[in-house]
Amino acid sequence: MTDFLRIRDLRVAFGEGREAVRGVDLTADRGETVALVGESGCGKSLTALALLGLLPDGAHVTGSATLDGTELVGRDERALRRIRGARAGMVFQDPMSSLNPTTRVGAQIAEVLAIHTRMRRAARLRRAVELMESVGIPDAAARAGQMPHQLSGGMRQRVMISIALAGRPDLLIADEPTTALDVTVQAQVLALLRERARDTVLLFITHDMGVVAEIADRVAVMYAGKIVETGPVAGVLDSPRHPYTAALLRSVPDPDRPVAGELPTIPGQVPSAGEHVEGCPFRPRCERATDRCREMPGLTPAGGGSVACWHPHELTEAAR
């Protein structure tokens, strides 16, 4: 078995009947980058937070997620603490809310090393500067002495990435890490993550299909708490099978291929958390829906990936 990260029937519920993640199955190999894509409220961030035991109080998690055989779900806080940082790292959208605003950035990285290694103080600070250099921060020794607010957004995100990588994690979770950055800086940070995630599983959470195209090996598209389609990135983007994936891709404008007239949209709205849709959750908005869709389709292999749909789009010639 090569599935280094293995998620089985993961569910996150907030109280009776308010299930936000409704049975996610996902696997990833070492060195693989899997993008978890979807619109707000689809459960992509909750799925990631559940893996690291970072969900807010009141969230009830069931199912299983193993990292190289170690179970992550249902562990106590002490065990989770050991896993986070040493085996799993996380990068969020807004580095300012994750960094301590009153501590020099070098000292913050050294602090993480103090928890997860037996290095001495001086060695930790030296290592912190090395880590900053490794994520492309110029003049790292001087930058290490600066406060977070003295760095640009891109530099702060690089610091977060260096902290997340400090313990040489097996799993790196990045939740919209470039959403707040300018496009040229976003391109730099994506290149950095591609380069540095070669030995880890990178679970990359985003709403942006353009970013998916830049970073992912595989894609899992989520809708209303479920994965509706998964497969190799080129296959999913070039020849989406699920009507939701197809509609989502159509509504993203492409700077090289302007559309005359109106942009295609998806009618209706995402069901709110806890709202029960009988059968396929996309059915009320789907142009291909039939009576059969009142029964929930399972995720079944199709082409190089899987799709949860009774009436998926055909593979295009190019993707066959």
Partner: protein, 322 residues
């Protein structure tokens, strides 16, 4: 002769930064927007695009330069006339949650400009009509902003902006906070309102794909100045300023391409504090020469084109060189 609704010339706006001197957020910006069309202002954070929008709306006073909207100099008119002028120019901001008063109902929010400007007529009927125009059901009038989705809130902000039939609307990142499928709905709405009402837009955005879809003309800003300006079609097909080329190359596309070809320019925009010598983009520019580091290139019309660029090598440097 084009019919320009908005004409700005030589706009400069400086801010004092504590202990570090003056920062020229907008440093000599001129632009014209033809009536009923959209000019997109693009660039990265801190380039001065939002400040430019605020200067055009007379929400801020420039230190130098002039703005005229429909022939009226917006920074020189008296208070009463400015009040009248404000009816014709309206903003739509990025986050409708910040710009909508949470204690007012949707109906009150949309009716407020009508009340402030003493618009006559049947106000509740007008509010219903405005909500329908932005494809919201009139039943939402009794709701509060926090009860709405992001897309619904942005539609409320648009309904408020068009309540007084403005000629000019500044949209500052109006869909950046929305999900893609909702983005497309709001963008289509903005375009439909332009077609039906002849509204002139300044569309401020970092999203080049949206800009390509919406704007007739595009102006690219870098560190307080416009570095390139032209029709959307030509500027996207054949960018002449190296910074425009960098922005276009870095914009993510929803399809897989050769990853080694993805552009990662060195560095980030420097600060505009202190003076400049030479071209502000030179430190990041792959084509920079000694001339670029000493001589500041002026924004000039390229011979035989409808394009302006502020680059010494705008004629010779072609796509592919960067």
């Amino acid at each position: 002769m084009t019919d320009d609704l908005v004409v700005a010339e030589g706009l400069v706006k400086r801010y004092r930064v504590r202990g570090r001197g003056l920062l020229a957020a907008v440093d000599g910006v001129g632009l014209r927007i033809e009536r009923g069309t959209t000019l997109a202002l693009v660039g990265e954070s801190g380039c001065g695009k939002s400040t430019t929008g605020r200067l055009l709306l007379a929400l801020e006073r420039p230190d130098e330069g002039t703005v005229s909207v429909a022939g009226r100099p917006v920074h020189e008119v008296g208070r009463r006339e400015l009040r009248t002028l404000r009816r014709t120019m309206q903003p739509v901001f990025q986050d409708p949650y910040d710009s909508l008063n949470g204690r007012m109902t949707v109906g009150q929010i949309v009716a407020e400009p009508l009340r402030v400007h003493h618009a006559d007529g049947d106000r509740p009927a007008r509010v219903r009509e405005l909500l329908e125009t932005v494809t919201l059901t009139p039943e939402l009038a009794s709701r509060y902003p926090h009860e709405l989705s992001g897309g619904q809130r942005q539609r409320v902000a648009i309904a408020r902006a068009i309540a007084l039939d403005p000629a000019f609307v500044v949209c500052d990142e109006p869909v950046s906070a929305l999900d893609v499928s909702v983005q497309a709905q709001v963008v289509n709405l903005l375009r439909r309102l332009q077609d039906e009402r002849g509204i002139t837009y300044l569309f401020i955005s970092h999203d080049l794909a949206l800009v390509r879809h919406l704007a007739q003309r595009v102006a690219v800003m870098y560190l307080g100045r416009i570095v390139e300006e032209g029709t959307a079609g030509e500027l996207f097909a054949d960018p002449r300023h190296p910074y425009t080329r960098l922005l276009l190359a870095a914009a993510p596309r929803p399809r897989v391409r050769e990853r080694s070809a993805a552009v990662t320019a060195p560095g980030e925009p420097p600060s505009v504090l202190g003076g400049r010598t030479g071209c502000a983009f030179a430190p990041r520019c792959p084509l920079a020469t000694d001339r670029c580091r000493t001589e500041d290139p002026a924004l000039r019309t390229l011979p035989g084109t409808d394009r302006k660029a502020a680059c010494h090598y705008a004629e010779t440097a072609r796509a592919g060189a960067a």
